[in-house]
Symmetry: C2
Subunit: 494 residues, 2 copies
């Protein structure tokens, strides 16, 4: 890929993270300049990509008598190349920030940066040449990597333009996360998580249909269970495939859904059969947390994710996730000839449903409430809906109720926004779902997103779960689902 041009970043309090992009010149203008100590340029590739970067560099002057030292900074969004990266105050590794200092001993040279980056912008800074020469930089090129294959057909023009734009950004997000696995974010973490995988796979079935990649990922989880059989929340591929150290209860449960989704999308029930024991094991292990009262209670110190939101009481949501997963496990069990298991799951679903309705549903307020403080949250309503614990009518009422309640705990990140939108569609709130997608994902598009972000709070642009927006990921798997909502769930329909 060739650059789209040279740009500059302009401080702008109204822009996302306070930086606006302005065009400066065509890229050829850069090659016409001689650059020396302190010179810099920001290259814009016109779209987000995951891949490699290269350029040629030549020295011109009285004599090329010293190495050239350059700094390169790769950014998914303008702020990453506009702000100094140091001192860095984030909680995650500084090494995720995409900057390199290189020394080039012999000029002219073609420099092929060996690492992979996720970027749209590249800031090139000439730290130094020597007093006797300047450098000319040319043949700037990026090589975009993806296992996605050709783009799917565009949505028909009958779909409103703003939704078609959201669809495009969704697809770009998924494309740049599809590598040798479905990565969560190509800039940061770059690994396979069950929660992200399920949403990516659903979107993939509606778009790229690289189903072998889903299959590979499902097997990667099944291959590396914990000693007791619980699947890890994530898997690393390098230096050889191995499980991550995190275990997330809702992710382990949702593996059942991911396998069933795959089998239904592809017809590959052989693989489903092969993976069935792993699904069965998750259900067995997690069923142990359902108490005599029929309520799932996660053990102390376990990780129930649901959403990036510290304030969220997760008791209701995790019951919803587990019932949702049990339903899929039961369907899978019947396909795999495990009738006894299917029956067992259905009995558990019935028991948990009754319990959840009795314990969590506040029939006066028409919402599900979670925890000792009877917290009202979007997460609770979404998972009570998706699990089928709430009737569609109750679900619709509940969503109207939380929408009217200012202190209801809102979703913190796109992952939960997806399940809220899906739940709204399920209970017939199509207009509300469409509005949610238009305001939330559409809000990112309006703020300039080429790919959807890991975290986005319309009321707090500076949000980071890691103490620095510079280390947030701006192309993140779990945000790619509008294309699925539009294409598979007919979000744009009447």
């Amino acid at each position: 890929m060739l650059p789209a041009g040279i740009v500059k970043m302009v401080a702008d309090g109204t822009a996302f993270l306070r930086w606006r992009v302005e065009p400066v010149s065509p890229v050829d203008a850069l090659s016409e300049r001689l650059l020396r100590r302190g010179d810099a340029a920001i290259i814009d590739f016109g779209r987000h990509l995951t891949g490699h970067f290269s350029f040629s560099i030549a020295g011109e002057g009285r004599g090329v008598d010293a190495p050239a030292r350059l700094k390169l900074t790769f950014g998914e969004v303008p702020a990453e190349v506009a702000e100094p990266l140091d001192p860095y105050r984030g909680g995650l590794s500084r090494a995720w920030l995409q900057d390199e200092v290189i020394n080039i001993d012999v000029l002219p040279a073609v420099v092929e940066m060996p690492r992979r980056y996720a970027f749209r912008y590249v800031k090139l800074e000439i730290v130094d040449t020597s007093p006797n020469y300047a450098v000319r930089i040319a043949r700037i090129k990026a090589t975009a990597l993806s296992s996605a294959g050709a783009d799917p057909p565009l949505l028909p023009e009958t779909v409103p333009a703003r939704l078609r734009q959201i669809d495009k950004v969704s697809i770009a997000t998924l494309r740049d996360c599809m590598q040798t696995v479905f990565e969560d974010g190509p800039k940061r973490d770059r690994r396979l998580w069950i929660g992200d995988l399920r949403l990516q796979a659903l979107t993939n079935y509606a778009t790229f249909r690289n189903n072998d990649l889903v299959k590979r990922c499902l097997y990667l989880f099944a291959a590396f269970p914990r000693e007791d059989g619980l699947l890890p929340a994530c898997v690393f591929e390098d230096p050889e495939a191995h499980r991550g150290h995190e275990y997330i209860i809702d992710y382990a449960a949702l593996y059942a859904a991911a396998v069933l989704d795959y089998a239904k999308a592809t017809g590959d029930w052989n693989t489903a059969n092969d993976l069935w024991p792993a699904v069965r094991k998750q259900m067995e292990l997690l069923s142990a947390y359902v108490g005599p009262d029929g309520v799932f209670a996660a053990p102390p110190r376990s990780w129930v994710f649901i959403d990036w939101c510290d304030a969220l009481d997760r008791a209701v949501a995790i019951n919803g996730v587990f019932v949702f997963s049990l339903r899929r496990a039961a369907e899978l069990a019947r396909h795999c000839g495990a009738e006894d298991d299917a029956v067992k799951y259905e009995q558990l679903i019935a028991r948990m449903t009754a319990a959840a309705r009795s314990v969590f549903y506040d029939s006066s307020r028409k919402v599900f409430v979670s925890g000792p403080k009877r917290q009202v949250s979007w997460a609770s309503q979404a998972w009570m809906t998706l699990s089928g614990i709430a009737t569609n009518e109750e679900a619709a009422q509940a969503f109207h109720a939380v929408a009217a309640q200012a202190d209801a705990v809102r979703p913190g990140a796109p992952y939960l926004y997806h399940y809220v939108a899906e739940a709204m569609l399920q209970c017939g709130l199509k207009q509300e779902a469409k509005q949610l997608v238009e305001t939330y994902w559409g809000g990112m598009v309006k703020a300039g997103a080429d790919t959807f972000w890991e975290v986005y709070d319309p009321s707090n642009a500076g949000l980071s779960p890691y103490g620095s927006t510079l280390v947030n990921s701006y192309c993140h798997a779990w945000s790619c689902t509008p294309a699925y909502l539009l294409r598979s769930l007919d979000l744009a329909g009447k």
Copy 2:
């Protein structure tokens, strides 16, 4: 090569550049530690080397879930790894400072730094790992590069220990500068200069005797003359061999001496014959600057080097250098069957000698004086001696006179110190020459030099021709000559 240990640098106003080395632990103790954000260690290889550096790095902890970012700083002397390199205020390229920032995506890894460095010390700084793991560094190794071959025999124990130590450091300096050419400094510039080459070659004949390397270097100059035939002061090898942009009059003249030295040391008169036209051309071009008065006057804006010393009036010294070179050219001419040229040079030598004695010699003060201000300098006396313009008796008187004159311009760098010492030996001042070597080069040894430095002023440790001692070279070709003075010129003799 394996490290000698882990050290720390301690601020010490009495130490060279204000940093003293103190041992911390054996190197194995480093591998026993887990390192994380902010940790650092300085590795000491126990001696200077030119070459490569490698280490293994593994992650340990809950999960190796992010790249590791390290900073490596290579130092020839303690200050380079003890002081921050930025903000850098030197005049030469910042790229010469030997620091790298690296990001390692996959752990464990063996990291082989691809560039070559000149160093004894390596500071390893862990910029970051992740909150979930720390790194263990092991298998630290350096690969020393040199074309010098095996070390020459040690000087006999009858030579005083301090001189034997100076000899060792000289040899180490030459060894680490001998690569595919005789480099001026393996840390910085890394190129072939005529002035350095001649002194390195002389020392090489007395030590390593890699005579093919000298031959290669002599041809490299002859291959890349300026359009008019003048030889460049330096040659670059990469990306393909080409001449530098600098022309130094005294260096062009001394090419004659370098060729004759080579032929006499090796008996390879075929090569001398082959290079004779290049020598002849230098004499022809430079003779044009000898005026009707028999005085050599460098053209305006030309570069007469002689020494790193702004205050030096170079008029006398350049006349000495040219006569010195003409003598060698005449000897070479006779060997090459160019009798006419030899006669011509000898006539010119006689004319210039008479003129210099008449114009530059102050018979009342018994010194040669240079320029309109009648400047007295060590440089002038040295080159009047080496050229044979001064008689040995006059030369000895002159050296005694400058030694007694507080405002006589002293040498600024080892290159001229060498010619002063050689001139002293030539005129019979062996004790003075020995004392000079013991105080000047011996002063570097006392200050901790493993290899001799590019610049050293005993009265001004912070001297740098480039505005920063951090960019000075601390293993520099033109400082390697004590081994030649001791071994070929019998400096240590009675």
